[in-house]
């Protein structure tokens, strides 16, 4: 009955617990998915959590991309499966070429952990329908390799198609091109975000509850989506 949202654990994932908690607080069932198991266990959406999958060896996300579960997810994405990649999850989606561009070392070489203001640039149907256009939110960041880069043509295309989902405001923490904090694929079912919405879901433990909006958006989308969903 209730919506099932998968949270993938890779060796080195850190935020799978918080992501599962955010899913539960939003009102869905969190289903643990394992990197080595290609089965998505019938989930309706997937969260790729933050952390340092496979120790970030080579490049962040470079090895996780080849995990058996990622092959299934890449296929399901083509059929419209909603996927949210957070931090390392965003890196994995870029390495898998599910999202364009790449995330490289912060321009100033420092790890940044702070509460960050963002502006929601695209109220899109799957992951940001709970927000209003240009709404400012506060969501924590914590990364050393979060600088979004892509060639100018790709950046222009993202702008033109409304695929830039959120930008940093009040200071760009990592040198990301065009202040990009989050983007979506062309179809809109996949979003990669460098800040951590799963850490902003509860007044006790986060700077705001703004992050919950991403999870409730997806649940609202699924509730309204035609019932032909369901990855096998």
């Amino acid at each position: 009955m209730s919506t099932r949202v998968g949270v993938v654990t890779f060796p080195g994932s850190l935020d799978d617990g918080d992501a599962a908690r955010a899913v539960r607080l939003a009102g869905a069932d969190a289903v643990g998915l394992w990197h080595a198991d290609p089965d998505l266990h019938g989930v309706d959406a997937v969260v790729l959590p933050g952390g340092f999958s496979y120790g970030d060896y080579l490049r962040g996300g470079a090895i996780a991309r080849f995990a058996p579960v990622m092959e299934t997810i890449a296929e399901a994405v083509r059929d419209g499966l909603p996927v949210l990649g957070i931090c390392n999850g965003f890196q994995i989606l870029c390495e898998a070429h599910i999202l364009p561009g790449a995330l490289i070392r912060n321009q100033h070489m420092h790890f940044r952990a702070r509460d960050q203001r963002l502006r929601i640039e695209a109220v899109q149907p799957v992951w940001t329908n709970a927000f209003t256009d240009s709404q400012e939110v506060v969501i924590p960041i914590k990364h050393g390799e979060g600088r979004y880069v892509a060639d100018e043509h790709t950046l222009d295309e993202l702008e033109a198609n409304g695929q830039i989902v959120a930008r940093y405001v009040g200071g760009n923490p990592n040198g990301a091109q065009r202040d990009i904090a989050a983007i979506s694929n062309a179809a809109g079912n996949v979003v990669g975000i460098m800040p951590h919405p799963e850490h902003a879901v509860d007044a006790l433990t986060g700077p705001s509850t703004d992050g919950l909006g991403f999870f409730t958006s997806m649940l609202k989308f699924l509730a309204g989506a035609p019932a032909d969903q369901g990855a096998s």
Binding site: L58, R59, A62, I63, F66, A74, V77, R78, C94, E95, H97, I98, L99, P100, G101, A102, I104, R105, N106, Q107, H108, M109, V149, A150, D151, H153, T154, E157, G175, N185, A186, A187, V190
Partner: protein, 96 residues
């Protein structure tokens, strides 16, 4: 020895803050005539049999380098370097 060496470098247009930090430290060594430092990665692949440049190129393209931000070159260890064809890849498209 069946060893192929892969050199991975950030594309010239991608800022290399690590290299910049090294360049900025050089004056402290009394070195003032260096205009740029860029840092890459050298990967040595041992094949069981004959070194296979085509396989090595595939490994480099799919895993060792990210063609969005990096170029690579490879050569069989001990031979003259042969620049790879790390061709400009088209912008990665998200599947619809």
């Amino acid at each position: 020895m069946a060893r192929v060496v892969v050199d991975v470098m950030l594309k010239p247009e991608i800022l290399d803050p690590q290299g910049q930090a090294v360049a900025n430290a050089l004056p402290r060594l009394g070195v003032n005539d260096v205009t740029s430092v860029r840092i890459g990665r050298r990967i040595e692949i041992e094949f069981a049999g004959e070194p296979d440049l085509d396989r090595a190129r595939e490994i480099a393209d799919k895993l060792l380098a990210n063609p969005v931000i990096e170029d690579f070159a490879l050569h069989v260890d001990g031979t003259v370097e042969t620049e790879s064809d790390s061709q400009e890849s088209e912008p990665a498209e998200a599947p619809a």
